[in-house]
């Protein structure tokens, strides 16, 4: 009896010793796939529309702006459409998508919560309240500076309130931050509601247009004026990758291993608010990019922020370009609001993702 059990035990040990590896894609493979997708989305966005511009022509037009004459001929009309309309729109899409996804990834890491997205720190709802308020005060949606500046400043203000409230004894608690975010979101939502209530019909149209998200009105001056914020965020946030990895173990553990947790948290929150604030101020509310892109990447590449942070810029940019392609091609000659497309595609996709994660890992936790 005893000897038999021991033999059986040995066999079990051997079976357990076989290695089980996690189903991850190598970083280089994934990066290759993502780059290919991004380039395809880029040329599709530039080329598709009322006037078709094939990739070769698009390249030729770009080169001509750099002073190089090369490749196939193109009409001045193609040139004007590409350079003045489609390119700024694509550029804005890349910046907005990249920053929403990057901020989402960083915030999920710093909050150790896969539910986090740029909205949790109050920046989106704060920006919305500011933008709607500016519209009520008579700024036009197409007057970039009035509405965008109001949105940007009120977004940062909302994040500042969230942070101040959650801070006590020189430390912030993740739970308190999330609760404060909920409270600030509700308050900002109330202001938005109030402004909508007192708005007239024209203003209502503007408000609806703004809150549904858009990158259509992009011009080069718009792109260049917000470019600095994006560059600062894109360059600085990935520097915190290793600290974010350690923070996923918990604050105490991260500190035991030498991370200045509070400094990491402040930096990540400020940079994420800058990125999201800049994105929302020029493009309105575009949901799900900041939530879904980080999840998909983490699922296929694992949770290492050293890869996730830079990759989410590329992934977010691609996602937004594809969404914008859908937005402006499915109901030609009209356009769907961009935020409607991202939510319409992102919502069901996220549902499937959550369900799948529940099946494989027994939940997101």
């Amino acid at each position: 009896m005893g000897a038999k059990a021991v033999t059986r035990l040995r066999a079990l040990h051997q079976a357990a010793g076989r290695r089980v590896s996690s189903p991850r894609l190598a970083a280089s493979t994934l990066l290759g796939i993502m780059t290919a997708l991004f380039v395809a989305a880029l040329f599709a966005n530039v080329g598709m529309g009322a006037v078709e511009i094939p990739p070769a022509q698009a390249v030729a037009i770009l080169l001509s702006h750099a002073g190089i004459d090369a490749g196939p001929d193109f009409t001045p009309r193609s040139d004007a459409i590409l350079w003045n309309i489609r390119l700024p729109r694509v550029a804005l899409g890349i910046l907005v998508g990249g920053s929403l996804a990057l901020a989402g990834t960083a915030l999920q890491g710093v909050f150790r919560n896969p539910l986090a997205e740029p909205g949790v720190i109050g920046v989106s709802s704060g920006a919305a309240a500011g933008a709607v308020g500016a519209i009520i005060l008579g700024f036009s949606v197409f007057n970039f500076h009035g509405v965008a500046v109001a949105a940007f400043l009120s977004g940062l203000l909302a994040t500042g309130v969230v942070y101040m409230v959650a801070r006590a004894y020189g430390q912030t608690s993740v739970t308190t931050l999330i609760l404060a975010g909920i409270a600030v979101n509700a308050t900002a939502g109330a202001f938005t509601g109030l402004f909508i209530f007192i708005a007239d019909d024209d203003q209502l149209r503007s408000i609806t247009f703004w809150t549904l998200g858009h990158v259509g009105g992009a011009t080069w001056p718009v792109v260049t004026s917000i470019l600095p914020f994006f560059i600062v965020g894109f360059l600085l946030l990935p520097l915190w990758a290793r600290a974010l990895n350690l923070l996923t173990l918990g604050d105490r553990e991260a500190r035991h291993m030498g991370v200045s947790t509070e400094r990491v948290r402040v930096s990540v929150i400020v940079l994420s608010a800058l990125l999201t604030g800049a994105a929302v101020s020029v493009a309105g509310i575009i949901g799900f990019v900041g939530l879904v892109v980080p999840h998909v990447l983490r699922l296929v590449a694992g949770p290492d922020h050293r890869f996730l942070l830079p990759a989410s810029i590329l992934g977010g940019a691609t996602a937004l370009l594809l969404a914008d392609l859908i937005a402006r091609t499915v109901v030609v000659p009209a356009e769907l609001p961009l935020g409607v497309v991202t939510a319409m595609v992102g919502g069901p996709f996220f549902l499937w993702l959550v369900h799948r994660t529940r099946l494989t890992w027994g939940g997101m936790e």
């Binding site: 290695r19 590896s21 500190r255 035991h256």
Partner: protein, 286 residues
Amino acid sequence: MSAPGMRADGVSYVLHGRALVREVNVDVLPGEVLAVVGPNGAGKSTLCGILAGDLAPTAGEVKVDERPMRSMKPGALARLRSMLSQQTHLRFPFTAREVAMMGRHPHIPRWRSPAESDYQAAEDALRSTQALHLAERVYPTLSGGEQRRVSLSRVLAQDAPIVLLDEPTTALDIGHQQLVMSLCRRLAAEGRAVLAVLHDLNLAGAYADRVMVMADGETVAVGRPEEALHAELLSAVFDQAVMVVPHPQTGKPIVLAACESSQPGVPAWGRQQVPATTSTRERSAL
């Protein structure tokens, strides 16, 4: 120059008017395993938190390598002491190897990638806790005991001269408990200072150089296991009659809960010998 140790001088921690730790002095000395034991709520983990720098003592001071801990930066401190907390919640699907690698953080300069020696240190740490076969598994899918060993690997990979372990053996089976305690001995033999909070008095008795008994936030005894693990003292501290017998092989103290009904009329606690009747009965039951 001797290896760094840690010293707490009259540390207290008062929360909402209640002293969780009161004027405790501890020396965590290089080359030594110090076990901290005591009933639930005695302040063991609070003391551990104070020593790790998680909690600022409301009175007293902690010195690491003769320097006040308050004045040290997190990075410098992390190269001197490592700490295994009671629980680690990790929701993100890092592999066991990645978790062990995190322990190398204080040794990797900010602008550099991990060196070959860092990967090697993480692998060695996983091997020494018998968790190398789990290296590519995803941490949240491991069992409690497996997670514990991987967390310990992370602490070992940190390669600090002072090692604080808050209940390193909970959730572990008897074999892995012995493994972890042998690791503590090995760390001490390497000249490190080891402090372990333990619930298992027998592990403390078998592996510690010194045992510190805590009750109600205070130190009630410190000394060699044979001195500190005293039946009368432990019975009072734990409010449970216990007896202490020597291990048949090593002679180290073994603490057993006394069975009061086994011999009516004789007070069970404080007895130093196992009654023959008990052992015969146990043998026949097997």
